[in-house]
Amino acid sequence: MSYQAKGLQAWFLQRVSAVFMACYIIFFIWFFLNTEQMTYPIWLNWFSHPLMNIATGLFLVQLVIHAWVGMRDIVLDYIPNDAVRLITLTCIGFFLIASSLEMIRILFSLSFNV
């Protein structure tokens, strides 16, 4: 993608990730409200199902993209100093990578239950 289209790319990613996450959240709430008593076996089985496990992994990827674009926009708007801006963006990046690694570890620790 050319430099001129970078903004459009971010704009597009923000929307695509938003749609995916909205669907996931609606499904999550729907399932949660449809379970009379949430117990550990139901909860574990749910996230051990291959589709739900992978969907949650995808949700994580979309979340990282969405959060990065959003936080970057805010930083670019409110932090004019180049050095402070770079440090803040680096911290946000590390924060998101660390969170992702932990989430990936949790999702991978569950064995598929078909």
Partner: protein
């Protein structure tokens, strides 16, 4: 960093009190604030998620922790943040396809988003404490 001197050429207006805040601006600030809040709440919810999936005792511990007074307030704020961010996001989508782009309707939809977000907050509050 594309240009070094953008700090000199860009117009700035740092006195926020000199700016008028219509409904759409209040909603937009809420959208951003909610986004940052959700971003910052990420580690805690990952921790709860991790705890809830370890074993039976962990699940109950996670459940208990979510019901502690301090976490309850935190969850309530997070629910508001998610609700406001979600509904405001839908409004932006509609604006992208030119629905409600007129000034009058944009202000009305902004008010609607803010009110609906608050209503969800109040409903959660009632469900949490009554």
């Amino acid at each position: 960093m594309r240009s070094i001197n953008h700090q000199k050429t860009r117009p700035k207006n740092l006195n926020l009190l000199s700016v008028k805040f219509p409904m759409s601006a209040i909603m937009s600030v809420g959208h951003r604030a909610a986004g940052v809040l959700l971003f910052l709440s990420l580690p805690y919810f990952i921790y709860i998620f991790q705890l809830s999936l370890t074993n039976d005792a962990g699940f109950l511990q996670a459940k208990g922790e979510l019901q502690s007074p301090a976490v309850k307030i935190f969850c309530l704020i997070s629910i508001w943040a998610l609700a406001h961010h979600f509904i405001a996001g839908i409004r932006y989508f509609l604006l992208d396809i030119d629905i409600g782009i007129e000034k009058k309707w944009a202000q009305k939809s902004a008010l609607f988003v803010t009110v609906l977000g608050s209503v969800i907050f109040v409903i959660s509050f009632i469900l949490f404490y009554l």
